[in-house]
């Protein structure tokens, strides 16, 4: 398997990472090197093997479906928003999405 430049650019867009043409070419070479390492997997016979998604085969722990934290005066919100790039009236600001 060998990635092409447009493929690298498409993956970078899916990952929302801007890449210049020169960066895309360097990435392409590195990624192809890594994928040739990964390719060794394809020779393994895994028919009938149950995929292992997690280190422990235990079910997800559930909790009661109720509010656990109240913040009536917005103190917690203010604390967490103090580290945001841009906020206004308790809201996170981003560029306009709909014209």
């Amino acid at each position: 398997m060998s990635l092409t430049l447009p493929e690298v650019q498409r993956i970078a867009y899916l990952a929302r990472i801007e890449v210049s043409e020169a960066e895309a070419e360097t990435s392409r070479q590195h990624l192809n090197g890594i994928f040739s390492l990964i390719e060794a997997m394809q020779a393994a016979d895994t028919q009938g093997v149950e995929p292992m998604a997690h280190a422990q085969d235990v079910g997800q722990r559930l909790r009661e479906d109720r509010v656990s934290h109240l913040d009536p005066d917005g103190v917690q919100r203010a604390r967490f928003q103090a580290i945001a790039p841009e906020t206004e009236a308790g809201l996170y600001l981003v560029p306009k999405v709909i014209e």
Partner: protein, 486 residues
């Protein structure tokens, strides 16, 4: 004093021959003097550390001290700590002041009464094996300043090796505690997945990440693990098990212990000096009464390929949260929302992190999921099953930690594949979720430390620590310290 064990430090604090403030100041002075060159810490806050030390002294005076109260510690900068800058080694979080504490921080600072000396340098988002991917610059190996300390917990390792801290926290996704421990002559333990809470520990690959202790001996690791481990309802993968004393097996004889030697760990690809030291350690274990058993991990050659699908896949999902909206870096100029995401992430992440996000995005993308991600998960099962079979024949598994001793700064930085292969012996342990540790077992002909790896069965940390402790009672490799850092 700077090379004392945790037990000795606790005894001095209890006897009041030394206060926590004095001990903390001693380390802060060493950090001020030696860190500008070593670069083991990204952030220190002496006032804050000394305030914690005063609290610890009050606790000791009131007779409410635990076994670690008042002892200083270096915290890997992956743990969120309220009011501390928490960068994870990235420009993305350069100005991130955490609004909350990770559970590990709560346990060590608030409950155990330990004193955080600062936040230790690390590879960016824990992605690296040399600490060279940190936005805050590389860390020097105290044994040879032209060489890497290993990674990703390279700052933690260098801090303890240079006696800038008596002990440190680390995290291990594919070897990030064990490999730097090996390269810096330390003892480090990655516990069974789920034993230490991941709450507030910035996520890289959530099904593999696990925090653990880095110290100068197995006995110190056991004490620190006692304070770190335990069920936490804030981490949905934390295991509900009764708490245990990880020191309880220390001192037991090794008579009859079955040590498995996987033939795949003793083949080609490992430096001769490393192999000779590991072989000598095996002979020592024989003298200590252990039995040696040859075992096989036939799929271990597939662990690096499977890991470099699974870990990047999980990382690409975890790191999608860094988008310049709620916290962290935001690009100064952009056209629209999509452009803001793309520029923020292009400018905020370093090359290795971007590389892994791209791999992860690709293997999870439409049409490739089955061939890569699903196949990697099946191989993960084969690798875990190999260990299950091996542990039917033995109690612990022994081999090298890293195929080489510390390499030169820059030597592997340009070739990701070469860098990835330095974790060839450690990665399978994370895929299986088993506990593994590294401990010193000698030096190569250039005077660089060599580590051996011990792998235990699930939840067998106490035995594993004793197997390491017994060796450290019979050897003095772990007591050796680098020259020129007095």
């Amino acid at each position: 004093m700077i090379h004392a064990s945790l037990k000795e430090l606790a005894a001095a604090l209890a006897a009041k021959t030394l206060s926590s403030v004095e001990l903390t100041q001693l380390y802060l002075d060493r950090i001020a003097r030696l860190n500008p060159e070593l670069n083991a810490f990204i952030t220190t806050d002496p006032e804050r550390s000394l305030a914690a030390a005063r609290l610890a002294d009050a606790r000791i005076a009131a007779g409410q001290a635990g076994p670690l109260t008042g002892i200083p510690i270096a915290q890997k900068d992956i743990f969120c700590a309220e009011g501390w800058r928490t960068t994870c080694g990235s420009k993305m979080l350069e100005n991130f002041i955490s609004p909350y504490d990770a559970t590990v921080i709560t346990r060590l600072e608030r409950e155990a009464g330990m004193v955080s000396l600062g936040k230790a340098n690390m590879d960016e988002f824990a992605m690296g094996s040399s600490n060279e991917t940190s936005w805050f610059g590389p860390v020097q190996n105290p044994w040879d300043k032209t060489r890497v300390p290993g990674g990703s917990s390279g700052g933690s390792a260098a801090a303890v090796a240079a006696a800038l801290a008596p002990v440190a926290t680390g995290t291990d996704t594919g070897g990030s505690i064990r490999q730097p421990a090996a390269l810096c002559n330390l003892t480090g333990l990655k516990p069974t997945y789920g034993v230490v809470s991941r709450y507030g520990m910035i996520a890289f690959a959530s099904s593999l990440d696990q925090a653990g202790p880095m110290a100068r001996s197995a006995a110190d690791c056991a004490l620190l693990l006692n304070a770190m481990a335990g069920f936490d309802d804030k981490d949905s993968t934390s295991l509900e098990r009764p708490s245990e004393d990880y020191c309880r097996c220390l001192g037991q004889p090794l008579q009859g212990l079955k040590i498995g030697l996987p033939r795949e760990f003793f083949g080609e690809g490992c430096a001769a000096g490393v192999m000779a030291a590991v072989q000598a350690a095996i002979d020592e274990y024989k003298r200590l009464g252990a039995e040696l058993v040859e075992v096989s991990l036939p799929n271990s050659h597939l662990s690096v390929p499977a890991y470099y699908v699974i870990a990047p896949a999980e990382a690409s999902s975890n790191l999608s949260r860094f988008d310049g909206v709620r916290y962290g870096y935001r690009a100064p100029e952009y056209r629209d929302l999509s452009d803001m995401y793309c520029k923020t992430r292009a400018q905020g992440f370093g090359a290795e992190v971007k590389r892994r996000i791209l791999i992860g995005t690709y293997v999870l993308s439409h049409g490739y999921y089955d061939a890569y991600y699903l196949q990697a998960q099946r191989i993960r099962r084969l690798i875990a099953d190999d260990f299950v079979a091996a542990f039917r024949q033995c109690d612990v598994i022994l081999g090298p930690t890293s195929p080489s001793t510390a390499f030169k700064q820059g030597e592997k930085a340009a070739d990701p594949v070469q860098m990835y292969l330095s974790d060839i012996y450690t990665i399978a342990v994370n895929l299986a979720g088993l506990p593994g540790m590294s401990l010193p077992c000698g030096f190569d002909d250039q005077g660089l430390p060599i580590g051996m790896q011990l792998i235990g069965n699930y939840f067998d940390e106490a035995r594993l620590l004793n197997v390491a402790h017994a060796y450290q009672q019979a050897s003095d490799w772990h007591r050796r310290t680098p020259a020129g850092l007095e």
